[in-house]
Subunit: 379 residues, 2 copies
């Protein structure tokens, strides 16, 4: 069903388009994170259309424990629930299981753990994750994997990756079964596999080769941005991405800063997602092409310029740094909303600029100038 | 400068239009409360234009203690600061002085008190209140008054009202002086006087007559909705409003529920303001023509209808009760925003319906049917 067209390359950087039942995704793309089916900072799906968002990302675990995927299926699926007709990617729940829950036990069949909300016992394995994501009816489902700590020992990582591969095969089988059911929300749901291996090149490469053979709809690089250095992360991408199919989309999970994204694109990544723009926005930190601004700073008290001159986001088109700082100081939600709208727009707009640069064969130049401007630019 | 045209009456109910330098205000009107220059619930001035808001109301005291009226004047005034080119009414700060601050001392010259933010000593009298409001440059400034408790003793109320009258005269003199200054933000700033007298009819009436002679731009009834019963409030309006000039706008401060507003209109009130729609919205309570709904209620978990069928607000045009309930349960700001947008729209839209009914001589009928529907209507 899905098809990825590689439109252009520049070095390893890819410019593509991914066709889905919920519309085309132009890549490289940044997915906007709406954990429980809403972007933090009072941003609605209607707003997302104003800020160049192509793909919304929701968290399987959170939607499973609150309101519940079965209820959402009854109501017609996540697209209908949150009123978003464009692509949605759901994560597998695995990352939350491993990061949020205490008392977890990993077994071959899956993971036993307790809900972070009410302590209820939950079991999640590959089949359960696929079932939940099928109930949500997302455009792209992620395989259920284990994300071992960046600094885990080799033996642990080897065993974990081997299990992740076995889990991936079970995910693929289960998704095929679910997509064929009569009452399935999205019979065209796609599956992305996830490469793991911590910072061990050979494990990463072997795993990439192994999952590449499974002919999935896309491939993610997981287990990065979890404690290793940026240099280690870039190194892993350089070593691993060449072993993932070039004619399928690649996804660098949970990454990252604008600089991380530029480096990721250069190393062949199509999809990104990160909570930075919304989380930093809620803390008063704005991304601009001249670097980050801390709007809490006293020096912005009488600054009637927009957050970023020339920016076409809903915050910059209307409101000043002085007003937004005033709102942040007064604890007004509107301040957080305007910050988040700006930051997400900044990310989405940067991706558009990246795509344009790739289209015109000047990505290397764009990347260098953007990195320089963000580091040394004058506000 | 300002002129109030009484377009139509029905009994004592008035249908008017108030011309200001920031545009016409069609009355009866509900003013949307944006305490610190922003409506709570992440609602921006851009949003206000979508939800039929005519007048924004900001709080002098809050803006004085945070960011500061002098800074706002330097930046061009409150209209420019919050990006709103339509009418703004500022209160006098008196109500906050009397309700928020501890350690206050009322003297003839004004009130000594401490900031609720940092405990700093502040003095505010009629001249200071006018100066702050002049710095903000609001369309309509409110006179500095004392709002005695609803159940205050007669002697206290008599003395307080006499002082409020002396303060009012000082306000008028000071505003004339400020409006004539060369660097004033809004040389056409208007002044509304405030009738006080707790629940003592004769004090209220004598005070109304006295202030009516001062030929102010408008007249408010203050000191209501502060602890007395609805019946007492309606009684005060019946006794007092006839002594306020019919050819000037009247304003019932801090009121109230939709039913209170309908009763107020019937008794000759033009302007209303209240925090109920935004505060109740943030608590998950939605106003509809079939009464209030508590969206936290389990029964809305799978209810895919909008908050109110047929409502044209940004929440109802897009999102369901089920989704909004989910957001409220998950503590997502978007839930609060959608609730507040709906509730303010409900109020603003009801005012439009009231005006239409008055235009067509069927206000009594509209009021009866609306009250009946809100009390007995089936959702």
């Amino acid at each position: 069903m899905a098809k990825y067209d590689l439109l252009k390359t520049e070095g390893r950087a890819k410019r593509g388009v991914f066709h889905t039942v919920h519309g085309d995704i132009q890549t490289p793309v940044f997915m906007n994170v709406g954990t429980v089916g809403a972007i933090k900072g009072a941003v609605s799906t209607e707003d997302l259309k104003q800020i160049k968002c192509q793909v919304e990302l929701s968290n399987t675990y959170h939607l499973h424990v609150r309101t519940g995927d079965k209820t959402i299926k009854e109501l017609g699926g996540l697209h209908k629930f949150m009123v978003w007709d464009r692509p949605i990617l759901t994560d597998s729940g695995g990352f939350q299981v491993f990061s949020l829950s205490s008392l977890r036990k990993i077994k071959e069949e899956g993971v036993h753990f307790r809900s972070h909300i009410d302590g209820a016992k939950i079991f999640m394995g590959p089949e359960e994750s696929m079932q939940i994501q099928s109930n949500l009816g997302s455009t792209i489902a992620m395989a259920f994997d284990e994300c071992p700590p960046a600094l885990a020992e080799r033996k642990y990582v080897e065993d974990s990756v081997a299990r992740t591969t076995r889990w991936l095969k079970r995910c693929k089988t289960e998704m095929a079964r679910l997509n064929a059911l009569e009452d399935t929300v999205n019979p065209n749901q796609l599956l992305f596999g996830i490469n793991q291996g911590a910072v061990y090149d050979d494990i990463r490469i072997d795993h990439a080769k192994e999952i590449a053979e499974l002919d999935l709809d896309g491939y993610a690089v997981g287990g990065l941005a979890v404690g290793e250095s940026h240099e280690q992360m870039y190194h892993v991408l350089e070593e691993t991405v060449p072993y993932l199919p070039q004619n399928k989309p690649t996804y660098l999970m949970g990454v990252g800063t604008p600089a991380n994204i530029l480096e990721g694109v250069e190393r062949g990544i199509d999809f990104f997602d990160c909570v930075y723009p919304s989380r930093n926005g809620r803390h008063g930190h704005a991304y601009t092409r001249f670097g980050k601004l801390n709007l809490n700073n006293k020096k912005f008290e009488k600054d009637m310029r927009p957050i970023e001159e020339g920016c076409q986001c809903p915050a910059c088109r209307n409101y000043s740094r002085a007003y937004i700082r005033h709102l942040l100081k007064a604890g007004e939600m509107l301040g957080l909303r305007l910050m988040v709208l700006h930051n997400l727009y900044f990310y989405n707009n940067m991706m558009e600029e990246i795509r344009n640069a790739l289209d015109e064969g000047r990505f290397a130049q764009y990347k260098a100038s953007m990195l320089d401007s963000m580091e040394h630019g004058q506000d």
